[in-house]
C-alpha cells in the first residue's frame, strides 16, 4: 500500500537528516557572499538528476534499480552497485556517529557515546528488518511530530536576527562550481532510494518537485539562520553552526530552558528514518545480487549494520567523523551521477530497440 505521499515524506526526511549538521559548514566554506546561489544551484542540479533518474526508471515499469542492472548483466550490477553499498555502509556509520556526537552535547554530556550508538543502531536495524512498509508508515508519524519541531526551531530563531550580517547578498563569483566541496554538496541528496521501490504507482514529477522545493527552502533556512545570527566571520569558526544558533535563542515566556532540546529531538527522529532506509537499501541490493534462498534479507541488514557499527565505534573524534562523513557523501555524489545516467541511457537504448533483453 505504498502511496506517493509516503515516498515524498521519506524523501524529505532523509534530506533533512543528512543536511542538518554538515550542510551549512560546507556552504560557508564554499562562498563568503550570496550563499543562496550555491544552495539554489545545488537544488537545481539535484532536480535535473532526479528528472533523468525518474525518466530512466519509467522505461522499466515495475522494476527497481537492481532489476534493471541485472538485465544489463550480473557483472554490471556488481561493478556499479558494490561501491554504492560500501559507500552506504560508511554513510550509515558516520551519519549515526555524527548525530550521536550532537545528541550527546545536547542531552547527555556524561553518557558514553557507544550506548547511544547502540540505541540508535538497534532502532534503525529493527525498522529496516521490518521492511519498507513499516518505514513508510512510521515515517509519516515521525514527520508529523518532527516537522512542527523543525518549524518551531526555525521560526523561534527569528528574534535573534540581524539583517546586516548577510550583506552583501548580491555577489556571484561562480568559483564554487570548481571547488571539490561542491561535489560533496551534491551528495547531500537522497533521491537514489526512489529507484529501489518497484512501485506500481508511477512517480509524478509534480509531487517530487514540491518535495525538492521544500527541501531547498529548508536548506536555505539552515544556512541562513546561523548567518543571520552570527555573521559569516563567526560562523566559519563554529563546528555546528545551526546548533549554536539554536542555543543562542531565548524565549522568555517559554518554560523550557533551551531550544536545542527540540533540535536534538528532531535529529533523533530523522536519523532513525534515514538510516533504516539506507540499511534497507543495502539489504535489497545484497538480496538480489546473492540469490541464495537460505540468506534472508534480515541477515544482511544485521551483518552490515554490525560492520558499520564497528566503523562508527572506532572513529576517535568528531572532526575525523565529520571528515569521513564528507568523504562518504562525496562518494555518494559519484553514485548519484552514475546511477541515473546509466539507467537513463540503458532505458533509452532499450526502448529504441538497440539492446534486446529477455523478459
Amino acid at each position: 500500500m505504498t502511496q506517493r505521499i509516503q515516498i515524498v515524506i521519506v524523501f524529505i526526511l532523509i534530506q533533512l537528516s543528512i543536511g542538518y549538521l554538515v550542510y551549512p559548514n560546507l556552504i560557508y566554506a564554499l562562498t563568503k557572499t550570496a550563499h543562496w546561489e550555491v544552495v539554489m544551484f545545488q537544488g537545481f542540479l539535484q532536480w535535473i538528476l532526479i528528472w533523468i533518474y525518474i525518466k530512466g526508471l519509467n522505461y522499466f515499469p515495475e522494476n527497481d534499480v537492481i532489476d534493471i542492472y541485472l538485465k544489463m548483466g550480473r557483472w554490471a550490477t556488481i561493478i556499479i552497485l558494490t561501491p554504492f553499498v560500501i559507500n552506504l555502509i560508511a554513510l550509515v556509520a558516520f551519519n549515526i556517529r555524527l548525530h550521536t556526537e550532537v545528541i550527546i552535547s545536547v542531552f547527555l554530556p556524561r553518557t558514553p557515546y557507544w550506548s547511544i550508538l547502540i540505541l540508535l543502531y538497534f532502532i534503525s536495524v529493527y525498522t529496516a528488518i521490518k521492511g519498507l512498509g513499516t518505514i513508510f508508515r512510521s515515517s509519516i508519524f515521525i514527520f508529523l511530530i518532527v516537522i512542527p519541531l523543525v518549524l518551531f526551531n526555525i521560526f523561534s530563531s527569528v528574534i535573534n536576527f540581524d539583517i546586516h550580517n548577510v550583506t552583501p547578498a548580491w555577489n556571484s563569483p561562480a568559483r564554487f562550481l570548481f571547488n571539490i566541496k561542491f561535489f560533496y554538496l551534491l551528495g547531500f541528496s537522497s533521491f537514489l532510494f526512489l529507484g529501489f521501490m518497484a512501485s506500481k504507482t508511477k512517480l509524478s514529477f509534480r509531487q517530487l518537485f514540491i518535495a525538492c522545493a521544500s527541501v531547498t527552502l529548508f536548506f536555505l533556512s539552515v544556512v541562513y539562520i546561523p548567518l543571520f545570527i552570527f555573521g559569516q566571520d563567526t560562523v566559519v569558526t563554529l563546528t555546528n553552526p545551526f546548533l549554536e544558533a539554536m542555543d543562542s535563542v531565548e524565549i522568555s515566556w517559554f518554560s523550557f530552558n533551551r531550544q536545542t532540546m527540540f533540535f536534538g529531538l528532531s535529529l533523533v527522529g530523522l536519523v532513525i528514518v534515514a538510516n533504516s532506509v539506507m540499511l534497507w537499501m543495502i539489504s535489497q541490493v545484497m538480496r538480489k545480487i546473492v540469490t541464495s534462498r537460505r540468506v534472508k534479507s534480515s541477515y544482511w541488514i544485521i551483518a552490515f549494520s554490525v560492520i558499520s557499527f564497528v566503523f562508527a565505534f572506532f572513529v576517535p573524534n568528531q572532526s575525523l567523523v565529520e571528515k569521513f562523513f564528507l568523504w562518504s557523501t562525496g562518494a555518494q555524489a559519484y553514485s548519484m551521477i552514475v546511477i541515473p545516467f546509466t539507467i537513463f541511457i540503458y532505458g533509452f537504448l532499450s526502448k529504441r530497440g538497440v539492446i534486446r533483453y529477455e523478459k
Binding site: 500500500m1 550506548s115 540505541l119 532502532i123 512498509g133 513499516t134 508519524f141 518554560s255 533523533v268
Partner: protein, 438 residues
C-alpha cells in the same frame, strides 16, 4: 428390533438428564429422545401431541414436524447433543429431528455492560449468535450483507459467523479470512484462540480483532469495509482487522455535533499519548535532564523531591505498579467490596505515601493523570495495552532521559507500524473499498 434406541441409550447411559419417553400415536409407539436440561419436555410433548392430533399417520406426523426425516444414527446423536428432540418410531423404520421448545438458557437483549453508550441506542449483543446476527440484519436491510457460518473445533464444535458487505470489503480479505477460519482445527475457547488463527502475533499486545458490544458500532465497521465475526455464546462482535483508530473513535460520538465529536477524539488521543509518555517524562525530567527547564521550574521540581530516599525511577515504577494493581483489584472484587479498595487505595496513594516522604507530590499528580488518561481510550483491551506500552519507555527514560522518552516513543510508533493483519497495516485509517458487487 430396538437397535437405534438401544444404541442411543447406551451412548448416553451416564447422562442423568437424558430421557427416552414413550408416546402412543395412532396406535403406534414412538420414542421422544433428548436432554431435559436443554428441552422443555412437558411443553414439547404437548406440541408433538397437538400436531399428532391433526396428522393421519406416524409418517404424516413426522413430515409435519420437520423435514429432517430418516437420518442416520450419527446425525441423531449429534442432534441430541445440540439440544434437538429426536423422535424414533417403535419399529425403528422412521425417525425425525425436531426443533423442540427449548429451555430458556440465554439472557434476553440487555443494556451494554462493558461499554457505556451516551445518547445512543441502548441494546447490546447477547450470548445467542442468531440473535446477534438478527440484530445486525434488523438494522442493515440490504441483500449485500453476506453471512457465512463455520463450525470449528476439535472437542467441541463452536459456531462462528462471518459477516461482510459484498462490494465493500475487499475480496482478497474475505478470501483470506475464509481460508483461515476453515483451517481451524483446535478448540476456540477465547478470543485469543481465534486471534492466533490470523497469523503470528503471539507476543504482541495488539490483537487482530477489536471487540464491540454495540450493534451500531459493528454495523459501522461493516460499512467501513471490514469483517465482523461472531462466536457462539460470546456477547461481542469481533471486528477484523483491528485498526489504531478504533482506539479513539466510536460511532456514537457522532451523535453529537461535529465539533464535539472532534473534541472527544482529540481528548482520547491526548489520553493515550499521556499514558505512554508522562511517567517516563517525569523520570527523565527529574533524574536525568533537569537542566532543560527554566531555573524556577527546575527548582520547583527539585524541591518536591526533597528528602525522598528512592531514586526517581524506583519511585515511579513503584507507583505505576501499585496503580495498575488497584485497577486490576477493582475488577476482580465483587461489586459491593470494590469501592473500599478505591478508598483505601486513594488514601495510600494520595496522602500516606506523600506524607511518609516515599514519593513526591508531583509524582502523585502525574500518576493520577495517567490513570485517568489511560481510561479515556475506547475499549478495555486498548486501555490495557496502552498501559503496558508505558513500561519500556519508562525503562529507557531512566537510562537516557529525554532522549530515552523520545526514542521509546518512536520505537513504539515503529512497532505499531510494523503490525499487519492479513496485509492490512494496523496504522491505516481506512480500508480501501476494493470488492466488486458481482
Amino acid at each position: 428390533m430396538k437397535n437405534i434406541v438401544k444404541e442411543i441409550k447406551s451412548k448416553f447411559s451416564n447422562h442423568h438428564d437424558f430421557f427416552i419417553e414413550e408416546e402412543l400415536v395412532d396406535k403406534t409407539a414412538i420414542y421422544l429422545i433428548g436432554f431435559n436440561t436443554l428441552i422443555d419436555l412437558p411443553k414439547s410433548k404437548l406440541y408433538v401431541q397437538q400436531i399428532a392430533a391433526s396428522s393421519s399417520s406416524v409418517k404424516a406426523l413426522f413430515i409435519n414436524l420437520s423435514d429432517q426425516i430418516e437420518v442416520d444414527t450419527e446425525q441423531l446423536l449429534k442432534a441430541i447433543l445440540e439440544g434437538k428432540l429426536v423422535i424414533v418410531s417403535k419399529d425403528n423404520e422412521e425417525n425425525v429431528i425436531v426443533d423442540p421448545i427449548a429451555q430458556n438458557l440465554s439472557r434476553s437483549i440487555e443494556e451494554p455492560k462493558n461499554e457505556s453508550a451516551i445518547q445512543a441506542s441502548m441494546d447490546a449483543f447477547g450470548e445467542d449468535i442468531n440473535i446477534n446476527i438478527g440484530m445486525i440484519r434488523k438494522r442493515l436491510n440490504t441483500e449485500r450483507l453476506c453471512h457465512s457460518s463455520y463450525q470449528v473445533g476439535d472437542l467441541d464444535k463452536r459456531r462462528l459467523s462471518m459477516l461482510y458487505i459484498k462490494g465493500r470489503t475487499p475480496n482478497i480479505l474475505i478470501e483470506k479470512v475464509n481460508q483461515q477460519l476453515m483451517q481451524i482445527n483446535s478448540d476456540i475457547e477465547t478470543i485469543d484462540d481465534l486471534n492466533r488463527q490470523f497469523g503470528k502475533r503471539r507476543l504482541s499486545p495488539v490483537s487482530h480483532l477489536s471487540t464491540t458490544e454495540l450493534p451500531i458500532q459493528a454495523i459501522h465497521s461493516l460499512k467501513k469495509n471490514r469483517i465482523v465475526l461472531f462466536m457462539d455464546n460470546y456477547p461481542f462482535a469481533l471486528v477484523f482487522p483491528n485498526l489504531i483508530w478504533d482506539m479513539f473513535s466510536i460511532e456514537n460520538d457522532r451523535n453529537f455535533p461535529f465539533v464535539l465529536t472532534f473534541m472527544l477524539r482529540i481528548f482520547r488521543v491526548i489520553g493515550a499519548m499521556a499514558t505512554v509518555v508522562l511517567p517516563a517524562l517525569y523520570v527523565a525530567l527529574v533524574s536525568v535532564n533537569p537542566g532543560i527547564f527554566r531555573a524556577d521550574l527546575a527548582l520547583f521540581v527539585a524541591k518536591s523531591r526533597e528528602g525522598i530516599p528512592l531514586s526517581a525511577f524506583l519511585e515511579t515504577i513503584l507507583m505505576v505498579v501499585i496503580v495498575d494493581l488497584i485497577l486490576e483489584a477493582i475488577v476482580r472484587l465483587p461489586k459491593s467490596v470494590g469501592p473500599s479498595i478505591t478508598m483505601v487505595g486513594g488514601i495510600i496513594l494520595g496522602q500516606a505515601m506523600v506524607e511518609a516522604k516515599l514519593v513526591s507530590n508531583l509524582l502523585v499528580i502525574v500518576i493520577t493523570a495517567v490513570v485517568i488518561a489511560s481510561s479515556a481510550v475506547v475499549g478495555m483491551q486498548n486501555s490495557l495495552y496502552i498501559r503496558l506500552l508505558k513500561y519500556p519507555i519508562l525503562v529507557l527514560a531512566s537510562l537516557f532521559g529525554i532522549l530515552g522518552v523520545w526514542t521509546g516513543f518512536i520505537f513504539t510508533v515503529i512497532y505499531l507500524a510494523s503490525l499487519t493483519s492479513d496485509d492490512i497495516p494496523y496504522l491505516t485509517f481506512k480500508i480501501e473499498q476494493e470488492g466488486d458487487t458481482k
